[in-house]
Point group: C2
């Protein structure tokens, strides 16, 4: 660090979150960052092309039309919705609002590795609750002391869907503390917990357009929570956090949600078929409710490298307790055929 | 605030930044938020339309191509450039990295009212250095003790351009502390201070595509600074802070910079002509180097309201020492004719 800059000490002690590789190239089968292989609804592109004529003017600072569309979609009030530059921004705002120096964020392990990075950025720390067999919540997670607890549901990289009863118990036993359910992948699952918002004021739900809606490149996420929380977070979001194109594109995606449902159904079908094939090849594959599978094998690290040599990119997490698995994003049937053919050679 | 949420106390003590009104409507002459009345380069729209086909894939997390274009444009290294979701994000990251509980941001008054909001969001405070006659730097500003000092140059809402010698003196006397020169409006002025980056490691320059490049609706800003600083800020920016469309659009805007220069020249010409007219009408108009004018009159508040009634929106700041002025964005010649005709009636 340069001695000429008066930077705060927490910066030297932290590393950035490392996203999956963004390799380009027509020959690469990219199954490493849980992108949707299908395009968004054509209405999205139409809106973007039209709105591009107004880029010299500032956007609506609170994304009002989009929030109105999302409120109607979920059956909540406009004032319960906050839109952000990807759910990354939403998660950052939540941690900014709750975690200060020395305070702890609670999360399970394994889970989404961004959360501890955000806690560090606000001089906080992270309490990890190890999942049993990678999938089951331990008993001590429910009454934990942290002012904020974040649980993805489904939970990457394995894809477990926790039950509504478990979420209810978390909210109840963590009364007065915040319970954030990160529903980034929930459209690929059979149930969400939006209906619990009425009962639990400490519940916050985060969502993204990056996965099911095929808009990872656009950066739109949102939260559903109490009106009080949304009002407070509005103070610390960047004043114009959402550009014009994102606002109209996301609203168009919601208005044409059948297009998302069709792609979602194709991915879910392909996921379940691929899981069966992987099991046949000798992998252990915990049930996944996301657009990805976590395939467990003693030689997973080697399989990752051999796939990479063949131009097939999956995600390997070189950390406990994930060293025996590879996370495979569900792509098109063609991509999955290429993956399975390669794995047959590798494993066989 | 809800007792069911464990929010940090600073939130209750702060208010959000209040941006200028974003009224829509074909009949409104909108001269209140310093937008550019001309469209961006056609190349920007072409790139957006083409890139919209790839929205299902994540963007480059560090905006590498755009940063490369900006580095070449300014004659600095790629590693000296950080791109953000508007210069709002860039300014927030700087304050996040430097200002902690009880620490102070330094700024002149009047200036851009976002800075103190950002300081509060990180539990810091703001030391104000009142400008002499709204335009001259006071002597005590140079050696001030704050770890970060932010000076827009030109400085809104008046439009003063401080001299290179003054910036040099700030950097020299504030050695080891950060001096941020916010050059949001610098393309409308005759000189910038990019060349000083070689000499002063504590100097940071922020820029935006919102004003001269006609892209307020897109949210792209950046900073030029030391490679050490950029590396540290990369840790706390949102991992995918820039969407695909913004990255390609801003790069296209830089590649076709002549289009910006042409619009800039039209605005500067219109600004100087409008200033003369306003003086003729009895206003005092300090020399402006931005795309706006600050027109001073004892009855400014009344003029603001009367203009509003006529569908002409300018900006009035109901705070000292700005209560005797209105800030007028420079629009098209037609818009300025409408403004001047209305003011003739109002003043006359």
């Amino acid at each position: 660090m340069s001695p000429s800059l008066p930077l705060r000490p927490f910066l030297a002690k932290m590393d950035a979150y490392k996203p999956g590789e963004q390799l380009d190239g027509p020959r690469i089968v990219k199954l490493n960052t849980n992108e949707n292989p299908y395009p968004p609804s054509p209405a999205v592109l139409t809106e973007i092309r039209s709105e591009a004529e107004r880029l010299h003017l500032y956007p609506n600072p609170t994304s009002e039309s989009l929030r109105r569309a999302l409120a109607a979609y979920h059956g909540v009030e406009l004032e319960q919705v906050l839109v952000g530059n990807g759910s990354d921004e939403i998660l950052r705002l939540l941690i900014h609002a709750v975690v200060g120096p020395g305070q702890a964020l609670g999360m399970v392990n394994p889970s989404y590795s961004l959360y501890p990075v955000l806690a560090k950025a606000f001089e906080g720390r992270t309490n990890y609750y190890p999942l049993i067999d990678l999938v089951r919540l331990p008993e001590d997670v429910f009454g934990g002391p942290e002012p904020i607890f974040i649980l993805p549901n489904p939970n990457p990289p394995v894809g477990t869907l926790f039950t509504k009863a478990e979420i209810v118990r978390l909210c109840r036993e963590r009364k007065g503390r915040m319970v954030v359910i990160d529903e980034a992948y929930v459209d690929f699952a059979q149930r969400d917990v939006v209906s619990l918002l009425v009962e639990f004021k400490n519940l916050v739900i985060t969502r993204t357009f990056s996965k099911s809606f095929s808009l990872a490149g656009l950066r739109v996420g949102y939260l559903l929570g109490s009106t009080d929380l949304v009002a407070e977070l509005m103070k610390i979001k960047d004043s114009y956090n959402m550009d014009r194109l994102s606002q109209v594109a996301a609203a168009a995606a919601v208005a044409s949600v059948e297009s998302m449902y069709r792609n979602r159904d194709r991915i879910v079908e392909e996921r379940d078929r691929t899981a069966e094939e992987l099991i046949r090849l000798g992998y252990r594959v915990p049930e996944s409710h996301g657009n990805f599978l976590f395939a467990i094998h003693p030689r997973a690290a080697e399989h990752y490298s051999l796939l990479r040599q063949r131009g097939i990119l999956v995600r390997y997490f070189d950390q406990e307790p994930l060293r025996e698995g590879i996370r495979i994003t569900i792509g098109t049937p063609e991509q999955m055929r290429a993956l399975l053919a390669a794995l047959k050679e590798i494993v066989g």
